[in-house]
Amino acid sequence: MSIQVNAIRSLFPILHQEVNGHPLIYFDNAATTQKPVAVLDAIQQYYEKDNSNIHRGAHTLADRATRQYEETRESVRSLLNAREAAEVIFTKGTTESINLVAKTFGSKFIQKGDEILISTLEHHSNIVPWQMLSEQNGAILKVIPITDSGELILEEFEKLLSSKTKLVCIVHASNALGTINPVKSIIAAAHAVGAKVLLDGAQSASHLEVDVQELDCDFLAFSAHKLYGPTGLGVLYGKRELLEEMPPFLGGGEMIREVTFEKTTYNTIPFKFEAGTPSIAEVIAFKPALDFIFTTGKKQILAHENDLLDYATGILRDVKGLIPVGTAPEKVAVFSFNVQGMHPFDVGQLLDAKGIAVRTGHHCTQPLMRRLGLEGTVRASFAVYNTRAEVDVFAQAVSKIASLKNK
């Protein structure tokens, strides 16, 4: 069953506006997705009716807020098919989730001379925390190279993998190019040498069916705002046995069992990693976003987005002067490109004049851009509420822009 785009669009108030005199076409979904009205209502409802601090309040409001907060945790568990909700930790976002693993797992289990593998496709948030860790403890960072089409060279990965490898940190789907990495085989190969695997799921969690038990990943990080949910909220999934062994991340309230001035004992997971008052409204409002995904159906969403990607790729292929960037056969709905003779900023500015929102620049993947010999790209990324008609308008605008320098 295909999705009813018009019905879906009616759930997203922000889409119904003009920008610079044109109907908004929002193709910057890899940066953040728009929010359905149920998410907006949940935020309002929380502050109007249920606002209170969670987990310790002995009153009705606190109980309501706590219950809703924990219901979201259960929904995330279900999204990922984790064994138990306690394996779901709420953070500020993907970046904080990765930093949490670097600071806790990294400081305890990675020693001088141990190796951490990342890839050329990584977002800065899956590079810098590991560089910081390496500088601190003398671990060695190694990088899996890619082909010109933007795919990992798996033979090189296997060569880099050894008994020294302690952690493989790999992006599930590239934010800049869309490439979907064969993470299941990467995880199996890493486990075979005793290494753990962290998946950067910032782009995959919204588009693909991510089953952490089937993949057998040790950690998975993603952000709620790319899944139609609020900003300022992320998730770290981790296997219970690892989370239990890891030291806490931040010290403070909530993460303790008992504090005396001599010694503190820590709370159980997930609370051990959730010091301080969390983003309660955002967590609670993330549940209707997940409900929207469940109701629409992940398979249906993916099929729709793939259709838009194929359609865009098909009609833009013939535009004179257009250079697609990232041509892996397996991609999420990201169309990255350049126009011959033009800087991506200028292309983005001209698209904006037509009410079309895209991302331009290095997409926080400077090493990847350097590898491809590019300063940046223009990136159109699609979501469930986008339409073929929007892609048509976009393609016309791109053709006109490209013709400026490519007669």
């Binding site: 610079n20 005199g21 800087h343 900023f345 001209l350 904006d352 037509k354 620049g361 300063e375 400026l404």
Partner: protein, 143 residues
């Protein structure tokens, strides 16, 4: 000779013909960028890059008979267009004129809205650097 204010008024009336259509304004700016004089390759070095611009901008200036001559370039066409306008306004003038100039044509031609905050900051950095050159030449002249 027309003043800095005259030239700015001239630019504003040229842009008025385009109306408030963003696309035409940007196309026109990009076209102006194409008419920018070639940048001297000897000065295409990191030390001539203006900090604070998202796109790359190289700027160098020299003094000829008490007047400031600017040369600049960028890797994006919109920025090149803006540079060409700034050079048209400020080139071949005394440091004093440049330092006293009230550069207001950018918002008046509607580019302030189009550029957004990031690129507007870059443009401000570019103007500051042009004034800094003028100040340096003025200091030298008065020494």
């Amino acid at each position: 000779m027309s003043t800095i204010a005259d030239i700015q008024n001239e630019i504003v009336s040229e842009f008025e013909i385009l109306g408030d259509d963003r696309e035409s304004t940007i196309f026109y700016i990009m076209e102006l960028g194409g008419s920018l004089e070639p940048y001297p390759e000897d000065f295409r070095k990191d030390e001539y890059i203006i900090q604070g611009c998202q796109s790359k901008v190289w700027l160098v200036a020299e003094e000829q008979e008490g007047k400031v001559i600017y040369k600049a370039d960028s890797n994006t066409d919109i920025t090149k267009g803006l540079i060409s306008l700034l050079i048209r306004v400020l080139n071949d003038r005394s440091p004093k004129e440049i330092l006293e100039a009230n550069l207001d044509f950018i918002p008046r031609i509607g580019m302030g809205n189009i550029l957004g905050s990031q690129r507007s900051n870059g443009l401000a950095a570019m103007m500051n650097q042009m004034k800094r050159y003028a100040l340096a030449f003025q200091t030298k002249q008065n020494a």
